[in-house]
Subunit: 258 residues, 2 copies
């Protein structure tokens, strides 16, 4: 089957392979050098921007389905991925505001209006995080483009996707001190300046550089190595590494003050 | 329509009123005087214990649906309620292990086997918390009983409900220092001994009573009042109150060490 036939078959018979009424949308965060971005797709037929998303095969777990979506768009395998919230309710997708008759004129979408896709659907939100300088975004079959957007310049998105981004960002921030998020954005050995930048950028606020190592040491999340990096004359900062056991413990026991 | 007719109609036509393939299950925690429990229903026809659950009306938000389920079982309105994780995958309900032919012999369930209910369903997990001494558990229409079970004596449950309980408990613990959970279990003014018991019981570990006030003060979550409670000769401990603004801030900004 070629991709066009395959897509038409998905619209007509997809409910046999995928679970109807349920989809996944992914907020893929990208960090690099003090900048935080998210990946957005321009959907040709709807003339709007949306989060990368898709449906769940009946034979897949939800994590497998989310993994596939993220891998297809970023071309990176095994990204750090977390389910964070499920979105639903009668108002999340307003089908009455979508001009289904206009869409029916697009040959590939002629059967969309009467299909299984046009009914109330809940969306399971996942977030992923990567170094955006390492990814090659790939538009999907129905997308005009797929690109990185600065987190503070997110335009108006389709459906409830702005709310999804907002909630994903809040989750990312609240988990930064007990999930191994920064580990996915830094090399195995890093300087205090580097990890400080990750924390400042994700939290979007200034963190006193003199207190920062104390906080991290208090939480026990990073370990100072007896090793320095030479970055210039008279400049050789100490290197640090993540204490993976502490993160694991923080994750199991909850916030680490107890 | 009487309740029996109504139930038969739910099996046959429920997909018109409720969203198929999606349900809600609720882990309702109950705390009182050093004890933590959860509410479980004994389902007559399946001869097993399960979490209170239900389907989502197409006209309701998910929070409204979860609220209704929790209120029906506890007889308490407006309990603290949080969505915590969605469960899915081909193995979460093993229909091939359920004897549907036996169930079809129960008059009310004769149409179950060929109904919309017998198909892969994802479950949105919510947790609620209350003082169990205030609730009057109410069994549902198909339940033999609905009772409180000690958290450390949870028997084997139907479907993936043991996993749901495990994940809910982990979420409850990890949110205890930044969500207003304890506020729902204590009066507006309380002693250090009382809040210390809530934290120890939920976290299931000893917290040094001398350090506990320092930790809470460090986080700014409680405020000491210029007021004491007389509980006996020579015993008049100071009263405390929750600092709701700080909880709100902790919730918005993430863990409060930043």
């Amino acid at each position: 089957m070629n991709v066009f036939k395959e897509f038409e078959d998905f619209i007509e018979n997809g409910y046999k392979t995928y679970i109807p009424h349920v989809c996944i949308d992914c907020v893929i965060f990208g960090y690099h050098d003090h900048r935080l971005k998210i990946l957005l797709s321009q959907i040709e037929s709807l003339n709007g921007l949306s989060l990368p998303g898709g449906y769940i095969k009946r034979t897949d777990t939800m994590d497998e389905a989310a993994s596939r979506i993220v891998e297809e768009r970023t071309s990176i395998k095994g990204l750090y991925l977390q389910q964070y919230k499920t979105f639903g309710g009668p108002d999340r997708v307003k089908f009455n505001e979508i001009d289904l008759d206009r869409l029916a004129q697009i040959p590939l979408l002629k059967k969309l209006k009467s299909s299984w896709l046009i009914d109330q659907t809940i969306s399971i939100g996942y977030y992923a995080i990567t170094d955006f300088s390492l990814s090659k975004p790939q538009p999907g079959f129905m997308d005009r483009s797929c690109e990185w957007y600065d987190i503070d310049k997110i335009p108006s998105l389709l459906f409830d996707h702005n709310q999804m981004v907002k909630d994903a960002l809040q989750t990312l921030r609240s988990q930064l001190y007990y999930q191994p998020i920064a580990q996915n954005l830094l090399p195995g050995k890093f300087t205090l300046t580097e990890i400080h930048a990750v924390y400042e950028t994700i939290l979007d606020k200034k963190l006193d550089i003199r207190n920062f190592p104390k906080k991290m040491a208090f939480l026990g999340l990073i370990t100072k190595l007896n090793e320095k990096r030479n970055i210039g004359p008279h400049r050789a900062p100490f290197l640090y590494t993540f204490n993976k056991k502490k993160y694991k413990k923080a994750l199991e026991l909850g916030v680490t003050l107890s």
